[in-house]
């Protein structure tokens, strides 16, 4: 579903990402790990057409993401607070997103009901703008907004960062549920090995911009990863 073709990205002559042929299939729960500067966010930004590849391309459903914006309608994503419109209240933000994805009217109500546990009373009905929320809650809003359109492709960059423990657990449950009951292609990057191994069925370890390991989930996965990162 998502495929790279000789995809590279250079900054100041230094190659920060090199993915000649990475393929992510529909319905896959894909985890991306790596140390800082490994290229995780760069990869996601290239998929989302936020930065220009130095060479090569990313294709979603056979179409170059930079040429054909159709993928935007089936993709939900959240990378960082450059997504959030901070002068809106969370409700207004969700309404705006719903408008952009042209979701039918009832979907918002269902969404609020479904995500009530996730929001834990801290997001809705507080009469606050997003800029007045704590960072953790802002993160919640961003993640929820990515999930709101029930996208075919979900991309979250280090979503567990900054979430409190209860929310982390809830998010894992949410993602696992998504993985088991839908055909959503889930892409998560994380610094948290434990969380990412719980959610993903396939993990790619990036090292200095290249694929170091590409493994399908096994029971030993966590130990293997820990070994790699200890070295």
């Amino acid at each position: 579903m998502i495929e790279t073709f000789e995809l590279t990205k250079q900054y100041n002559g230094e190659t920060v990402l090199n993915l000649p042929g990475l393929k992510i299939n529909k319905g896959e729960a894909f985890g991306l790990v790596g140390n800082n500067g490994a290229g995780k966010t760069t990869f996601f930004r290239l998929i989302l057409d936020l930065i220009r590849p130095s060479a090569g391309e990313v294709k979603i459903n056979g179409e170059d993401v930079a040429q054909n914006p159709q993928w935007k309608k089936i993709t939900g994503s959240y990378l960082d607070d450059n997504y959030l419109i901070d002068f809106l209240s969370p409700e207004e933000y969700f309404t705006f997103i719903a408008g952009v994805y042209q979701l039918p009217k009832g979907d918002l109500e269902k969404f609020y009901q479904e995500y009530e546990p996730f929001f834990n009373g801290e997001i809705l009905g507080r009469k606050k703008y997003i800029r007045d929320l704590s960072r953790g809650n802002q993160q919640k809003v961003g993640i929820a907004a990515a999930l709101l359109p029930k996208p075919e492709i979900l991309i979250l960059d280090e979503p567990f960062n900054g979430l409190d423990p209860s929310t982390q657990i809830r998010l894992i449950a949410l993602l696992n549920n998504l993985r088991e009951t839908t055909e959503t292609t889930i892409l998560i990057s994380s610094h948290d090995l434990k969380h990412v191994t719980e959610v993903s069925k396939r993990i790619v370890v990036l090292h200095k911009g290249g694929v170091y390991k590409d493994i399908i989930k096994t029971d030993n996965m966590l130990k293997e990863l820990e070994a790699y990162f200890t070295a």
């Binding site: 930065i51 935007k72 994503s77 952009v100």
Partner: protein, 475 residues
């Protein structure tokens, strides 16, 4: 477009040099020949009469351009540095602002030529100190003002209003600021005791600044200022009926209303609308079509120019969201175009009262509005694809120049000049009225064909979206 910014820097540097040289020349000439310009009065007294105005002007200029020195205190709080030292350092830095050195330029020649021979060394020293204290009084008072009040639009407008009133009062002879000013600066020459007054003012201003800064050393104090005010702003839900475009327009309107910076930008628009009052009552000087056109374009196009040049930058803080969610940028720009057109129409409606000065003015304003709706709007949108710097919308006030580069000023010029250029050939051949109609027709055509015109801007945006996004991402 790196070469562009270097070129502009050279240009600006050149302009600055010329201005500086002219100032030097002017002040030397002034100093030398002052008594010839005002032969009846005592030169020094007359000169002193203007000083207050000079300082007032300096004050206003500082409000616009002087940077309020802010030291983010938090990184230093836990270090063994005395709070007093930090605050004094920050305030002391401000003393070196270039504005404090300009008066030297103006005063030195005058002192040398006009006062050297007539006043004793002691008196001249007193005078110098007088000026010194006064300049720094203005410096610190300006800082106080900026730090506390510049975010408040009401206060800003009040200041301008008061200044205008005082100017009028002087003009009509109600009060004479020049006399007061003259007294203020001449008296100490004869009685050095008066020197204590500006000295006291400087001290007071400095201490107030000191107290101000020290109060805000503790981060919690600043947190208290963060009010999560949730006024019941209308939801603009009627716009929702227009689908995606409506959705985007609602967002933009909320952006304008709920953020300090765009709000204060827009608040200044009414001042533009008053421009007509300067020009219309003087038909002998400004009665020709060319001038009327200029005024009309300015008044009906104010919002377009001021708001439009940052059109994309306003959304810089969530631009990644825009890029990953919006698949049809045609709609995106159409929504912005709609808002610009509406604002032009609104401005025009607000200038209708100027019909009192004659129907010709009404016609010209209408034509100017048409031109702004059609041409200026798409031009500004096209130019906004050059936006590259992130804007912090919470930093309010018109006195904030973050993100401003010289290119912003260059945007206004073509918009103002274009209609005059169209008018020129008609004027040369004496077809004055046809010239006006031509401008109106151009505007109308541009409005009718806005789709392909917007497409040009959209294409440019698509080409540049990566650079724009990257620039906006940089905090």
């Amino acid at each position: 477009m790196w070469e562009q910014s270097v070129g502009i820097k050279i240009f600006l540097g050149f302009v600055f040099l010329i201005v500086f040289a002219e100032m030097m020349l002017g002040s030397i000439l002034l100093g030398k020949n002052f008594h010839e310009i005002f032969p009846e009065a005592d030169a020094v007294e007359k000169f002193n009469g203007f000083i207050l105005y000079g300082f007032a002007l300096g004050f206003v200029v500082r409000l616009f351009m002087q940077k309020v020195p802010v030291l983010s205190i938090q990184p230093y709080l836990h270090l063994p540095v005395k709070r007093a030292a930090l605050v004094n350092y920050v305030l002391g830095k401000s003393a070196f602002a270039i504005f404090n050195f300009f008066p030297i330029l103006v005063f030195t020649p005058f002192i040398i030529f006009q006062m050297g021979s007539y006043y004793s060394g002691f008196q001249i020293a007193t005078y110098v100190l007088l000026i010194f204290f006064s300049v720094y009084s203005v410096n610190f008072l300006a800082l106080l003002f900026k730090r506390n009040l510049s975010g408040n639009n009401i206060v800003t407008l009040a200041v301008i209003a008061i200044a205008a009133l005082l100017g009028l009062a002087e003009y009509f002879g109600v009060i004479s600021i020049t006399t007061i000013s003259s007294l203020m600066f001449t008296a100490p020459l004869y009685n050095p005791v008066f020197l204590l007054v500006p000295l006291a003012v400087v001290f007071a201003a400095y201490l107030l600044n000191y107290r101000d800064l020290s109060r805000h050393l503790y981060p919690e104090d600043n947190l208290k200022l963060k009010k999560s005010s949730r006024r019941n702003v209308s939801d603009f839900s009627y716009l929702r009926n227009f689908g995606e475009i409506g959705n985007l327009m609602i967002l933009e309107l909320k952006l304008m209303i709920r953020n300090k910076r765009p709000k204060s930008t827009v608040v200044f628009i009414p001042i533009f609308l008053l421009y007509g009052l300067i020009f219309y009552p003087n038909p002998e000087m400004y009665g020709q079509n060319g001038w009327l056109l200029f005024v009309g374009i300015f008044m009906t196009g104010g919002v377009t120019l001021i708001y439009g040049q940052y059109l994309l930058s306003w959304e810089s803080s969530y631009f990644d969201g825009i890029l990953s969610h919006i698949d049809d940028f045609n709609l995106y720009f159409k929504a912005k175009h709609n808002l610009l057109v509406f604002s032009t129409v609104l401005s025009f409606v607000l200038t209708l009262p100027y019909a009192w000065f004659g129907t010709k003015i009404l016609l010209i304003n209408f034509i100017a509005a048409l031109f702004n709706m059609g041409v200026s709007s798409v031009f500004v949108i096209w130019m906004s694809t050059n936006n590259k710097k992130r804007l912090d919308l919470s930093k309010g006030a018109a006195f904030n120049y973050q993100g401003v580069s010289a290119t912003q000023f260059l945007v206004s010029f073509p918009v103002m000049l274009a209609p005059l250029l169209i008018y020129l050939p008609f004027w040369a051949f004496g077809y004055y009225d046809s010239g006006l109609y031509a401008i109106g027709i151009v505007g109308l055509l541009a409005l009718i064909f806005n789709k392909p015109l917007l497409k040009i801007a959209e294409n440019r945006f698509m080409e540049r979206r990566y650079e724009i996004g990257e620039g906006f991402r940089k905090k």
